[in-house]
């Protein structure tokens, strides 16, 4: 018979994302994390006094906490080598034309201005640690919507920032939250006034460029009563040899009856340690919708958390994780039902191939007062070969009465019968396998904005060769 080969999936095409520019930063802080470094960052950012104090407080917490003892191995990380702050050689630019040429060419290749032209209201692209390009449509400004970088927000909306900054993710939460609190830089700030519906998505695009540079951007979004917003966060970084660290922080305040959709595709290069913390506080009748795609990075620990704080608050979480060679992606979601009649729906798909490891980890907690809480978890894993790994680790802590909690998990492989079925209809083996994988993530893909769905499809159009066996 014909020569049989094992199914083998090589790395996906990443050249588009692995564009590297010459490092010509104006300023680099010293390696390692000391009080002097933190003071230096604070001074350069012209922080108000309270922010400096919080940074120093965070530094203390950081130094007192150990690395997490659960989850992926983080011993490769040597924080002493991480240059925590890199300021790119560009001033804030309001117009695309003003963005420096090499930075621009990278963005051009990532399609950012096109994306804006099509439908996006504003683009806040983070290049290293500073926002270099920012715009927002006039109509939004007239409605009182604020969309700006965190530094500007700190100057112009200081009381709001002071009230909310790291309230949901206190530095004591874990070591990387503390690190973030000490050295955070850049990020987005969005404020949507009561009753305002932002009907076009706001998008930010993060990138890390300099080798050895950590990125600690902070995203703070506040939705007042009965408002709505779709925020899209995309991440992509060029590839480097030195381990990179990303310890961003996202804090989302969803007011009464408000609705926030927060979509992300993280596509970090394969040397990134992605230790991101995201949390949402949802008031009465409010809705948080997470759409989360994790494709890149070397190690990821990412579990967006929804605190359902008011009655009938709701959380919808849709996630896809794709772990390939050399990747250990530990992702999932966490929900705290802290009020009666709150509900959550978690649906995830994880794929592992070429020795990659994908873990789904979730925590669902129902507090004693939160009677009639409802939560359903559905997670499915697909392993594309025999050397890859998938795990599912759901934790549930139910203290409220009349809770309705369901968990469904499946781990499987591509069905060879399904491949044969598609082939018997004329579809080549490679395409059959790709179709099955695309079908597997389809429930997630249909939640993504079109350009992201296309990007995800490109990511999944993996090279498959060999026949069944």
């Amino acid at each position: 018979m014909e020569n049989r080969k094992k199914t083998f999936v090589e790395d996906i095409e990443r050249t588009l994302y692995d564009i590297r520019n010459e490092d010509r930063s104006a300023y680099k802080s010293q390696a390692g994390l000391t009080e002097a470094v933190v003071r230096d960052i604070s001074a350069r950012k012209h922080d108000p006094e309270w922010m400096l104090e919080r940074r120093l407080e965070s530094l203390k917490v950081y130094n007192s906490l150990r690395l997490p003892t659960w989850g992926p191995d983080l011993s490769e990380l040597n924080i002493e080598e991480i240059v925590t702050y890199v300021q790119p050689d560009a001033k804030m630019a309001g117009r695309w034309e003003d963005v420096p040429e090499d930075i621009k060419s990278t963005f051009d290749r990532l399609g950012i201005p096109e994306a804006e032209k099509v439908s996006l209201a504003g683009v806040g692209a983070q290049y290293d640690s500073e926002v270099v390009y920012h715009s927002i449509q006039d109509s939004l400004i007239q409605q009182g919507v604020v969309y700006t970088d965190m530094e500007t927000a700190l100057r112009e909306y200081e009381p709001i920032v002071k009230e909310h900054f790291m309230r949901l993710v206190p530095p004591k939460d874990h070591k990387f939250a503390a690190l973030h609190g000490a050295v955070w830089s850049g990020g987005s700030f969005v404020y949507v006034p009561e009753g305002v519906h932002v009907d076009i998505p706001l998008q930010s695009y993060f990138r890390l460029n300099a080798a050895g540079a950590g990125q600690f951007e902070h995203t703070l979004i506040i939705l007042e009563k009965n408002s709505s917003l779709h925020f899209i966060e995309g991440c992509s970084a060029p590839k480097y040899n030195v381990t990179n660290l990303h310890a961003g922080c996202v804090e989302l305040f969803v007011g009464e009856g408000a609705r926030l959709r927060y979509s992300t595709i993280e596509n970090w290069s394969r040397n990134m340690m992605n230790l991101n913390t995201k949390r949402a506080l949802v008031e009465k009748d409010g809705i948080i919708e997470w759409v989360s795609g994790s494709f890149g990075s070397h190690v990821s620990m990412l579990y967006p958390c929804s605190i359902l704080h008011g009655e009938h608050a709701r959380c919808e979480f849709t996630g896809v994780t794709f772990a390939s060679k050399g990747q250990n992606l530990d992702t999932g979601a966490s929900v705290i039902h802290a009020a009666p009649y709150t509900s959550a729906n978690i649906s995830t798909r994880t794929i592992s191939k070429a020795g990659g490891k994908a873990t789904y980890r979730s925590a669902v907690k129902v507090t004693p007062n939160a009677h009639h809480a409802k939560c359903s978890v559905n997670c499915e894993s697909l392993m594309l070969d025999d050397i890859s790994r998938s795990d599912t680790l759901p934790v549930m802590d139910i203290q409220g009465d009349e809770a309705d909690i369901g968990h469904e998990a499946t781990i499987g492989r591509i069905s060879e019968e399904a491949v044969f079925y598609l082939m018997s209809r004329g579809i080549s083996e490679e395409e059959a396998r790709a179709m099955i994988v695309r079908g597997f993530v389809e429930p997630i893909a249909k939640e993504l904005p079109l350009e992201y769905a296309v990007e995800m499809n490109n990511l999944i159009n993996i090279e498959l060769e060999g026949t069944m066996g």
Partner: protein, 251 residues
């Protein structure tokens, strides 16, 4: 004389992973010409489904001897999807469920694959709609995931839907009528009638002669222990219907 489509000579095949190959087909000969309808009868375990799967190139089976030719070409060097593109179609006994791929998208991808030409979406959609009406499949099934949550009867009708839209030269129908109620058998049977013409051929496995009532069967083969032990016209169907396979086992 009509065109020869399928020519099987002394075919021997077994399960690929088994040491002794557990030879299921033990020297089978079969010839099918364009315009013909052939029926294979035989008790359970006689090798009927194996034959279908071997013609389609299922990796579970290994051919250990003999030849399978299709329009003069050696099928054994071709992969399953290449066989499909040559014009062979298998209607599965237990069609697979494929989550995330809609009936319409799957059919369009298949059509494109077998014809090698781009499919015009609107024109195809019209065609699909008409074929679905014919088979009494609710229109919303076009947007449903392939066979997911379909009843047994719906899966079988979905197979015939694919048969009509892919229009192969040789249709292998593996118990397409099993598990169907009388009305559903009628629908499937009329679908096969609609498909069949002088240019193509059908090879039907069935345990139920009802599906054959409105088809003009040219040739009946009785399979026993991996060999064809009896051949004849449609009168053989009636005989087996009456007497079972017992008379064959006497030999």
């Amino acid at each position: 004389m009509s065109k020869k489509l399928l020519e099987i000579r002394d075919l021997r095949a077994g399960v690929a992973d088994r040491q002794d190959k557990g030879e299921i087909l033990q020297g089978l000969d079969l010839e099918i010409n364009a315009g013909e309808i052939h029926v294979i009868l035989g008790p359970n375990g006689s090798g009927k489904s194996t034959l279908m799967n071997v013609i389609m190139g299922h990796p579970k089976y290994e051919v250990t001897g003999g030849s399978i030719g299709f329009e003069g070409e050696d099928l054994q060097v071709l992969k399953t999807f290449e066989r499909a593109r040559r014009g062979i179609f298998l209607s599965f006994q237990n069609p697979e469920e494929i989550p995330g791929i809609t009936v319409e998208n799957m059919l369009r991808a298949s059509r494109q694959a077998v014809t090698g030409k781009p499919v015009k979406i609107m024109k195809f959609r019209k065609e699909l709609k008409a074929a679905m009406e014919e088979l009494q499949i609710e229109p919303e099934y076009a947007g449903r995931y392939m066979n997911v949550g379909f009843s047994g009867g719906e899966k079988k009708r979905n197979e015939i839907l694919q048969l009509l839209l892919l229009n192969p030269k040789l249709a292998l129908l593996d118990e397409t009528d099993s598990g169907l109620d009388v009305d559903a058998v009628q629908i499937v049977s009329s679908g096969v009638r609609k498909f069949h013409n002088e240019e193509n051929a059908c090879l039907i496995i069935t345990h139920n002669t009802r599906i054959l009532e409105q088809l003009s069967v040219d040739r009946v083969h009785v399979l026993l222990n991996g060999r064809i032990v009896e051949e004849g016209g449609s009168e053989l169907i009636e005989k087996i219907d009456r007497e079972g396979f017992g008379f064959l086992k006497q030999d």
